[in-house]
Structures are given as C-alpha cells and as structure tokens.
C-alpha cells in the first residue's frame, strides 16, 4: 500500500470513509422507509390506531432515534451532492477533499439547529 493512499480517490482517507458512511446511511434510510410507510398506513385503519402509535413514539428513546435518522438523512443528502459534483463538475475530482469538508461543515450547520429544537421538544414536555 505505502503511498498509494495519495494516488487514489477511493482507498483510505476521506474518499473511502465517506463511501462507507454513504452506504450505511442509505441502507438505514431504506429500512426506515419500510417501517415508516407501514406505520403511516394506520391512518387508514382508524384515527385512534394512528394516534395511539404516534403517542407511543413520543418518548426520549424514540426521540433520540429520530435525531439519528435526521443526521443520516443530512449526511447522505450532502454527501450525495458531493458525489454528483465529483462526477459532473470538471474541477470536482481535483477538489474532492475540500468537497468532503464542505459536507462536514454543511452537516454541522444544518444538524445543530435541528438537534437543539427537536431535543428540546423531546426532553421538556
């Protein structure tokens, strides 16, 4: 391996770790969507059935899970834009490392305000 890490976009470093995280977040979202469509379908069973399940979700453990889900969405979406930029923008591959840090900064900027608001609601009701 030795210096190879500098010669490729994909082995080691930001390129590879963002790929691993992109894959994991994508699978997580896919599994969530399956459960999400099933529980939303309860609105067709009865208003009470839906309200009972939604009420059961309103606790700190599920609340933290929701924050984790939103973190996965924000990362996957911003990193998806990075992938698109590397593919289509002529200077994308050259700046791919800077683009990775742009994803990290964008993530913090979007996730921090959300987490403060959401967790305040979840923990102080």
């Amino acid at each position: 391996m030795a210096q190879a890490a500098n010669g490729t976009l994909y082995r080691g470093r930001e390129g590879m770790w963002s790929w691993v995280a992109h894959r994991i977040s994508g699978v997580l979202l896919f599994l969530f969507l399956f459960a999400h469509v099933l529980d939303t379908a309860l609105v067709r069973v009865s208003p009470d059935a839906y309200n009972e399940v939604m009420e059961a979700y309103k606790n700190p453990i599920v609340g933290l899970g929701e924050a984790g889900l939103v973190a996965a969405v924000i990362f996957h979406a911003l990193n998806g834009l990075r992938i698109i930029a590397v593919d289509f923008w002529a200077k994308g591959p050259k700046y791919q490392r800077q683009l990775f840090w742009a994803v990290v900064i964008g993530f913090v900027v979007l996730f921090a305000p959300f987490a403060i608001r959401h967790l305040t609601i979840v923990f102080t009701r």
Binding site: V43, V73, I121
Partner: protein, 156 residues
Amino acid sequence: MSATTETNYHAGPDAVSKKKSRYRRVSKGRGNFELWSWVFMRASGVLLLVLVFGHLFVNLMLGEGIHGIDFAFVAGKWSSPFWQTWDMLMLWLAELHGFNGVRTIINDYTEKDRTRWILKGLLVASALLVMVLGTLVIFTFDPCLDPSSTLSVCAR
C-alpha cells in the same frame, strides 16, 4: 497463428484474446440499463433532497415539531392535493432510489447465485408493497374519519 494465442484483429478495440483476457466484454443483453440507473440515482437524489428536507422541516421544525403529529395533522396535510402530490413523488422516488441502491449492494456482497436471487426477490416484494400500499393510503385517505375534525372540507 497457433491455437493458444488466437486473436481476432478485425473485431475492434474490445475484441481481445479469449484465452488470455480476464475481462471479456461480452454483452449480457441488458443494453444501457446500468447507465440509466446511474443517471437515475443522481437525478432522483437531487429531487429527494428538496422533497425530504421539505418533509422534515414541515413535520419537525414548524409548529410544535414532533409533538404536533397526530391524525389531525395528517388530515390537514392530505386534504390538500399539494401535499398528496408531494408525498406521492417522495414515496416513489425514495423507494426506487433506495431499491436501486440496495440492488447494487446485494450485487456487491453476495457470492452465491442462490443467495443473490433470494435477496433480490425480497427486495422486489418489499418495494412493491411499499409503493402500492403507500400510494393507496395517500389517495384513499379520508380526513373526515375523525368526528371531532375542524377541517372545512368536513363541515356538514
């Protein structure tokens, strides 16, 4: 020309010695499917960014946030064709995008044909279930099922 190094010099750049090359560019008859699926992942990704971020903002940031979610909240949204269309597009694009992504992952990690086909069967079945059920739920939804509804469409 000896039998072991048979090369077809007339068949264009892709034709390499069948005996020597590990890379045989033999068409499996799938046309440009993988190219289109690559384009679809990028196009649907950009649309999903808007649809999913909008969904999360309206459902988690506005009003009382997560606490405001109940039957009445859903009734308020799905009595409007705007949110019905929004959710339908989000449902189909997210499911097809996720389907395509997971299909790639299955192809990457499965070694036995049998395992691969079983996983893909489950994948197809779950995607069909989610898209059919989700679409039916959006368009057969009755916001007035709740007797205490205050929506104007439910006024008798």
